[in-house]
Amino acid sequence: MYDSILLVPLMPLIGFLILSLAGSKIKNEKIVGIIGSSAILISFLVIVNLIFTASSNHLEEPAIVKLYTWFSAGDFSVDISYQVDQLSLFFGAIITGVGFLIHVYSIGYMHGDRRFHQFFSYLNLFVFMMLNLVLASNFLLTFLGWEGVGLASYLLIGFWYDQKFQGFRITWTGDAANKAFIMNRVGDFGMLVAIFLTFTTFGTLEYSSISDLALASKDIYYDSNMTLAITLLIFLGCTGKSAQIPLAGWLPDAMAGPTSVSALIHAATMVTAGVFLIARNNVLFALSPDSLMTVGVVGAVTAILAASVGLVQNDIKKVLAYSTVSQLGFMFAALGVGQFTAGLFHTMTHAFFKACLFLGAGSVIHGMHHEQDIKKMGGLRKYMPHTFKTFYIATLAIAGIPFFSGFFSKDEILFTTYKGNYFIYTLLVIAAVFTAFYMFRLVYLTFYGKERFDAANHTPHESPGTMTGVLWALAGLSILGGFLNVPHIIGHYIGNFPSLLHDWFHPVFGSAQKILAHGEHSVPEYQEWLLMMFATILAVGSWQLARAWYRSDENWTPARNLVAKFPVLYKTLWEKWYLDQGYFKFVVDPVIKSSRSFFWKILDVSIIDGLVNGLGTVTKGLSGVVRRFQTGVVQAYAGLMIFGIIIILYIMVK
């Protein structure tokens, strides 16, 4: 019944193969674009069909479709097999749905690029790998996808490999791509060890078996060192892929890639892989309260730090990148208090509005002839009405203005963290205030006020229909997406509207929820209303502050004054809390320096090799001495012989 799941990764694979092997022969951009996009569209339709099948059949246990045994040795065996359940279908739908829209957008955005077909083949490769990641029924196939999306991300960040990119110790886009891949590998190392530990503990890498085994011996595994180690190592992997502290530094530099890549990979899908992985291993995490706490705290701290950096940046894509890091922090915070559905809900709405924002930014950059500095923009709403409106809608959503999608998902996170952990809640509330501020600052600086660009040279223009059409589709989703999971207190008043997502995910998270049930305190309904209003007031207040500073005052006087008053703080935020500098000073430079001066030149060349060559020299020298005895003079030999006999006699007599 669920065998059609195989088609889902297959279509983008076929797309990738066609475009990479024959792409250069297809001269027509349209055909390339259609091949690339339709592959994703078909996958999307298959997933939608599967979602309906699953919900009409009330799928309780995951259905597993095995393709073949990947490899085996001894007790170890791992399959290429896919798992159909609520979680995999949910992610599959986001990836292919948003992925399809971004493919279509790219047809316009990448128009005229020398390697147009290659771009689409990489995008298809990315979707193929991402689908493997989320549809896999076992850890190792997820790992394949995990590394595969890393590859695609590497290829796409450095897509314009001959262009420069500004960043700390970064000159070329390729440097940014390296940074992304290498930092991710640090996380992958954690995941690899987690895989070894999982296999030695449970004897399998199949997700459903692991969960069953762990649940069956709940008492042994609960709060045990083993589950703690496994889950923390998994989380190390997640911090890499989802750009959380301490491995957050690569994502802002990943903006070196084309903007549609930033939207697809570095906002909507790949970076949420960490959220997926924790949700996928929800039972293990539920069994390890310390790990969950770590996830929550790391998420909340990342959320507030990244949001604070976003307050002062001037590059339109960098602001969005820090925003993404921060929003991912929100998701992890929700997971950390054990509210998996809340985290996933935000993953989805974030995919809609952040993709919309990034693509809007791409449209702006496109229209501004590759200008990314918002200080050099202003007044663009006149020139690009569609981009402006959709960007505005998405901003309302991310800021948490009522009844836009972000409002519902962020509110649920705030509410659940309030129930679970006040510390996390407080950090998130502040982060939410920052979010509303930096987003509206971005809107006002870009679309309102004086035109600070050189209008005489090139007038900004609105992007073509393929691009604005996609923007509108995503804006629509940013408005409506929240209604998939209306909070039940509101649901009451609009005719018993159900929390669809909660019901949908029940089979996946039910048992984990049971383990966690005793952790949180219950909250009366009026408090829930108060919290919601509190958050709304803060968001709107923050919006109005940004409006007062950046729209009403053409010279941004209050903002400038504040910077002048707190130069150290401003500099710290501008330098992103010196995270990159710290890495280079304490990790990268010492390693390279010691490798160059000590390990290579001293240890390898002088000591080890020197020892070997020294041995050679000694042998040569000794043979030089010994050779003297071989004189060929018989008398000398006879003399030596007598000398020897005397010694032997002496020893014997003694």
Binding site: W70, L144, D162, N178, I182, V193, S595, D604
Partner: protein
């Protein structure tokens, strides 16, 4: 018969080449290539007729040779041997094809040497007689010495002498061990008329039934091990490798990385593990420790190299560390991983050397700083280099991952090593591999072209395509469906591991008996 043909085909070719005129370079190269291609086809018949449900040696030939020491011309292959032979017959034609451009002087002699080398390498992997094995093992040195020494780069003499001395020192240990072992088994265990034997199968079964005191076993184990570990090479015995690799002509490096190093890992499994399981178990920790050091050390030294070829040479130290770690995990996963990783390393590092050779032909420099931005003028070359690089990095879906994963998994769960840290530290190799290769890739291929000379670089030719495509096919095949290859050695590895487990159990029993006795004596 198939095996005999596969073995002697290159020797026959080498002899026939003797009669070719000195000046007839084209004839020599065409002929040598055809011979090696025929050998490859012959090895395919081996593959097709191989019974992978049989753990013992197949295609056996056993001809008495020197009766007084019971040495014979005994050959046969099991799964591991088959994989190694096929690697040899697959890599050699590619190396020969790449010689067409890079070898310009004394062509006839060169092709004789390569064919002789192929003959000896095949011989190493199929000998089931220690005497014969030793002859092939030493025979390798002669052609390799000349290939590096005559057709190599500037420092070729230093490199080739170093290579020669390192290997010979190792072999001498092995020779002593073979004599000792032959005498011990022939006289003490079998009591045959010669009082000596070099028959591998006889020795193995005699040792299995009668056993060997650990005190004696230890010495023979190390004598074999040193010889093989130099060849692998294991840290700190590796310093011949960067020199030999860098100075060898491109096809020499391809064969060196592709096949020659695997003689060491092959020997470790064939002799050290199979003949001396007790000693292997007792010394697994120290060797694995050095392997792990090698993984990290090779990687960090590779990171700061300025010569592309030397960089790749040092990565071999790192990659072969995984193989040795897998072998001495003494688990099924580890050993299977080691075998497949040997093949993988041959493909991906061989391909990297090939690619470096291509660009050296064009620009006559291997300094990273002489390049930059060449992706623009050589797009196809860049793609191939990228594939080889990611295969070497161990990206899943390409070959490198399967081997790395299995060796680390083996080390992680190994009861012999009984310590997770070997695998954990070893796994940091995945981070380093990304650093040194991607960093080099960035500086060579990406960015804009900085040197005027590089603007006119030509992308790869049709012949170069022909060399690269087969490698890519196998790199992907091994990554997507490695079972084709893993299953060949599955049953023989299984047999070996079962034996190790029996020995392990016995050792543990002895230990607990001993503890019991000590305990009882304390009681008294």
């Amino acid at each position: 018969m198939e095996l005999l043909f596969t073995l002697f085909m290159p020797l026959l070719g080498a002899i026939l080449l003797l009669f070719v005129n000195r000046g007839a370079g084209v004839l020599a190269k065409t002929f040598a290539f055809i011979i090696s291609a025929i050998s490859f086809l012959l090895s395919l018949t081996l593959y097709m007729n191989f019974d992978h449900t049989n753990p013992d040696f197949q295609f056996v030939t056993n001809i008495p040779w020197i009766g007084s020491i019971d040495a014979g011309f005994r050959i046969g292959i099991d799964g591991m041997g088959l994989l190694m032979v096929m690697l040899t017959t697959f890599i050699t034609p590619i190396a020969l094809m790449c010689s067409f451009d890079s070898i310009k002087k004394r062509e006839k002699e060169y092709y004789i040497m390569v064919l002789l080398l192929q003959f000896a390498m095949t011989g190493v992997f199929i000998s089931t007689d220690l005497f014969l094995f030793y002859i092939f093992w030493e025979l390798i040195l002669i052609p390799m010495y000349f290939i590096i020494g005559i057709w190599g780069g500037k420092g070729r003499l230093y490199a080739t002498v170093k290579f020669f001395i390192f290997t010979v020192v190792g072999s001498l240990f092995m020779l002593v061990a073979i004599v000792w072992l032959g005498y011990y088994v022939g006289t003490d265990l079998l009591g045959n008329s010669a009082g000596f034997t070099t028959d591998f199968v006889k020795i193995r079964s005699a040792l299995e039934t009668a056993g060997m005191a650990y005190e004696v076993q230890k010495w023979i184990f190390w004598a074999f091990a040193i010889s093989f570990l130099i060849k692998v090479p294991l840290f700190p015995l590796h310093t011949w490798l960067p020199d030999a690799h860098t100075e060898a002509p491109t096809p020499g490096s391809v064969i060196l990385a592709g096949v020659l190093l695997k003689m060491g890992t092959y020997g470790l499994i064939r002799f050290n593990l199979d003949l001396f399981p007790e000693a292997a178990m007792a010394n697994a920790s120290i060797i694995s420790f050095l392997a792990v050091v090698g993984i990290v050390y090779g990687a960090i030294v590779a990171m700061v190299q300025t010569d592309i070829k030397k960089l790749v040479a040092y990565t071999s130290v790192s990659h072969l560390g995984f193989v040795v770690l897998g072998i001495f995990s003494m688990t099924n996963e580890g050993i299977q991983g080691a075998i497949i990783q040997s093949v993988n390393h041959g493909l991906s590092t061989g391909m990297l050397f090939l690619l470096i050779g291509f660009i050296y032909e064009r620009r006559h420099t291997r300094e990273i700083s002489d390049y930059g931005g060449i992706a623009r003028v050589m797009p196809a070359y860049t793609v191939f280099f990228g594939i080889a690089m990611f295969s070497s990095i161990g990206l899943p879906i390409l070959n490198g991952f399967v081997g790395e994963f299995l060796t680390l998994m083996g080390a992680f769960k190994s009861t012999v090593l009984n310590n997770h840290w070997y695998a954990i530290i070893g796994a940091t190799g995945v981070i380093f591999a990304a650093i040194y290769l991607l960093w080099m890739f960035q500086r060579v291929f990406l960015g804009t072209i900085t040197h005027e000379e590089n603007k006119s670089l030509k992308d790869i030719t049709k012949r170069e395509w022909a060399m690269l495509v087969p490698l890519v096919i196998f790199i992907v095949w091994l990554g997507v469906y490695p079972s084709t290859f893993l299953k060949l050695s599955d049953i023989s590895t299984d047999k070996l591991v079962k034996k190790i487990e029996r020995v392990e159990m016995k050792t543990n029993d002895n230990l607990s008996d001993k503890n019991l006795i000590e305990y009882q004596s304390e009681e008294n």
